[in-house]
């Protein structure tokens, strides 16, 4: 007797506890095996690019905060670096070092959220609480500097909004001293946990050639073995004065390029960020925190594409100006927007439960995808 089967379409709707925001996945299933996954986005489209055409260049900075709301310092950093290249402005040394310190602290905070929520998706609740406890300490350092916990508006064109608080440097050194053993604790709890490895190794394997063709960047590309980091390859700010490694995936617990590799690259990146912050604190010079810039910023008529290494990948700003005080067109190339395109490729042939594991390992933020 023939067994009659039918395919089922399962809707993981915009309201879902594990989709990291408002994302809708249309999953076509044959029993528990996935045939295809279609992501639907646009539920957080906030018309950022239309707003930029009506604001002046400095007024755009608070809007850039709100795109990738887990790494606002780096969004500011990317915009300010691109504008300074466009206007050909040189900022003081002290500003460069402070920007690097804030950027790397933000990288640690963003990775802590990624690792904590990945644990909750797989089923482990305790690492989430530990990661958020450590993140609160970084947020209080940011609050000491500029007054805000999540969306800072800190880096301005030509400098910064506030200088460092006198207590910042001892507090930052104390935080680094406190945080180093916590990475070992996280590894013992989650990274080398047998159940976690069973669920994430050999799942969602991304070969290096496919990753480059799909435009994937950041820890996802490095997890597939490609040693490509914009802080080294397309140098910006003062990153060439620091000594740090670029961690890549090695396939230690499964195949090269699986979910565990991408996850472990993020853990190793936190260790490297601690090294960069220690070196920057030692070399921090005295000086002014603002340069003289014209009262109304009017770049020459033309265009520029500048990019930085966000915690999630390559963040690019394409700015086109027509000589007036507002941008004519400002397009943002969000890393999560491009990383998401490879998701339907990765899911083919896996089970339903692996969809969540793969989605968590790509580490997306919907504010950046939809802008």
């Amino acid at each position: 007797m023939a067994f009659k089967t039918e395919e089922m379409i399962l809707n993981m709707g915009p309201q879902h506890p594990s989709t990291h925001g408002v994302l809708r996945l249309e999953v076509e299933l044959d029993g528990e095996l996935i045939i295809s996954v279609k992501p639907h986005i646009g539920y957080l489209h906030r018309c950022f690019e239309k707003h930029c055409e009506a604001m002046t260049y400095p007024q755009v900075i608070p809007y850039t905060d709100r795109m990738d709301y887990l790494a606002s310092m780096y969004n500011n950093f990317g915009y300010v670096v691109t504008m300074e290249r466009f206007l050909n402005i040189q900022v003081p040394e002290r500003v460069e070092y402070i920007r690097v310190i804030m950027g790397e602290l933000q990288r640690i905070a963003s990775h802590l959220v990624a690792l904590g929520t990945y644990g909750v998706d797989i089923g482990a609740f305790t690492p989430f609480l530990y990661c958020f406890r450590d993140r609160e300490k970084i947020l209080s350092l940011f609050e000491m500097t500029c007054g805000a916990r999540l969306l800072y508006n800190y880096m301005w064109i030509g400098g910064l909004s506030h200088d460092l608080h006198p207590d910042f440097i001892p507090a930052c050194k104390e935080f680094l001293r406190y945080f180093k053993p916590n990475i070992t604790e996280l590894n013992n709890l989650l990274s080398f946990n047998k159940i976690f490895i069973e669920r994430t190794a050999n799942v969602g394997i991304l070969p290096a050639e496919t990753a480059i063709n799909y435009g994937v960047t950041g820890p996802n590309l490095r997890g597939s073995g490609v040693k490509y980091d914009l802080r080294r390859n397309d140098q910006y700010s003062v990153y060439d004065r620091f000594d740090f490694e670029i961690p890549v995936g090695t396939g230690a617990n499964g195949t090269l390029g699986d979910c565990w590799d991408r996850y472990y690259v993020r853990v190793r990146e936190m260790e490297e960020s601690i090294k960069i912050i220690e070196q920057a604190l030692e070399q921090l010079p005295e000086g002014d925190i603002n340069t003289a810039i014209p009262k109304r910023i009017k770049p020459p008529a033309g265009s520029i594409y500048g990019r930085v290494e966000n915690p999630k990948g390559e963040l690019g700003y394409f700015i086109m100006s027509d000589g007036s005080t507002s941008p004519y067109r400002l397009k943002v190339r969000g890393p999560s927007f491009v990383n998401m395109t490879v998701f339907s490729e990765l899911c083919k042939g896996h089970l339903v439960a692996d969809v969540i594991a793969i989605l968590g390992s790509i580490d997306i933020v919907l504010g950046e995808i939809d802008r």
Binding site: G42, E49, I212, N213, G302
Partner: protein, 175 residues
Amino acid sequence: MKTREEIFNSLKQEFPRDVLEFQNVPVEPVITVNPLAINKICHFLRDVEGFEFDTLMCLSGIDDANGEKITEADGTVTIKGGVLSVYYHLYSIKLNHKVTLKVSASRENPEVESVESIWKCADWHEREAYDMFGFIFLHHPDLRRILMPYDWEAGYPLRKDYKNPEFYQGIKIPY
């Protein structure tokens, strides 16, 4: 590693009718190209030795708004004629060089050849350019709206003469 001038000269030799000019605008020079030949030019740029552009960093649409501005009866401005453009930013990981290409298509019928078969990341970028400006990318496998709702009928939001509707499915939009 090649400079943008060298890349322009090699392209001009290979495709004399389709590569149009080298615009030396401030900060980053741009190479303008025929919109219906962009596919074969990008194949050349990706596969030939010495160029090897293996990633597309960004693809963005722009409304040049250089047509005739007509003031309607209710005071708003519509634009007739002129062009819409698409900018392509390419990068080579192996050889570490960049190039910027530009294509322009007419406002009433903006047809551009798709590069999705060359770099898969152009898929969603082209859907977004269609959603925001109205470009029709020929031979794209699945061209539909991506950010706006699928039943949005009020036009293409990022054009300079876009007018906001008052209601959407019974919900009032303006403040």
